[in-house]
Amino acid sequence: MTDILARRTLRQTALPEAIEAVHTELDKLWDDASFVPDLDRMTFATAVIEAASNVVQHAVPESTKPVELGVDISATSVRLEARVSAFDAVCPDPIDTDPAMPDGEAESGRGLALIRALVTTVTFKRQDGTNTWILSKSPLRD
């Protein structure tokens, strides 16, 4: 197991403002993991923001408690990983984890297809009332 060299976490109510906080945590991750090439930063950050935006826009509360967004991002020398969670959210409908990219003039529906195009693996996990999307990118390129 390769050591984690940088890691940042965030957990807050899943409101649009939380997306700016995710950007801030990504910037801090790169401060601590300066070895990560620019292209990998760009693709990974875009995928993480897409996944977090998906939680803010689509997660449905399981009770009267609002959904919380969790983001756990880490870097090893060869791999980037993000765990993007919706806490206290209902289990989403069956997810097509490899959707086609909408074409033409569609104004939505590109998020997951874009994530698939940006990272190496995308997996989904449901546990204890929490939905988690796990994104990984490896190996890192110079």
Binding site: M42, T43, V56, Q57, S108, R110, A117
Partner: protein, 110 residues
């Protein structure tokens, strides 16, 4: 994101500085609607200072393109930065949203 616009001789230029994401996308749609309503349907969005765009931002650009065309005009983008270019390329929207090196060149040929 900071949004502003300026009506020029033959087009209106909207400058978008910052991140075009789910927070700022509705604001861009509102501004384009305002510009179109004021009578300028030929619009250039200057993306020189837009360092980041996600699929919500892309959806807004497509919606704005439709709004401009429905009003008899067009919407073009200028000075696209690498991350935005990547998103446009991966979604094949670079074929739908015409990109120009600068705002002045976007309507320079017509």
């Amino acid at each position: 994101m900071d949004l502003s616009y300026e009506v020029k001789d033959s087009y209106a230029e909207i400058t978008a500085a910052g991140r075009l994401n789910m927070v700022s996308a509705p604001k861009l749609r509102e501004m384009v609607a305002e510009v179109v309503a004021s009578g300028s349907a030929r619009i250039v969005i200057n993306l020189e200072a837009t360092a980041f765009m996600d699929s919500s931002g892309l959806g807004a650009l497509i919606g704005c393109l439709k709004a401009a065309r429905q009003a008899g005009g067009d919407l073009r983008i200028a000075a696209v930065q690498p991350q935005v270019q990547m998103v446009l390329g991966l979604t094949s929207m670079d074929k739908v949203l015409t990109s120009y090196p600068s705002a002045a060149e976007a309507f320079g040929d017509d």
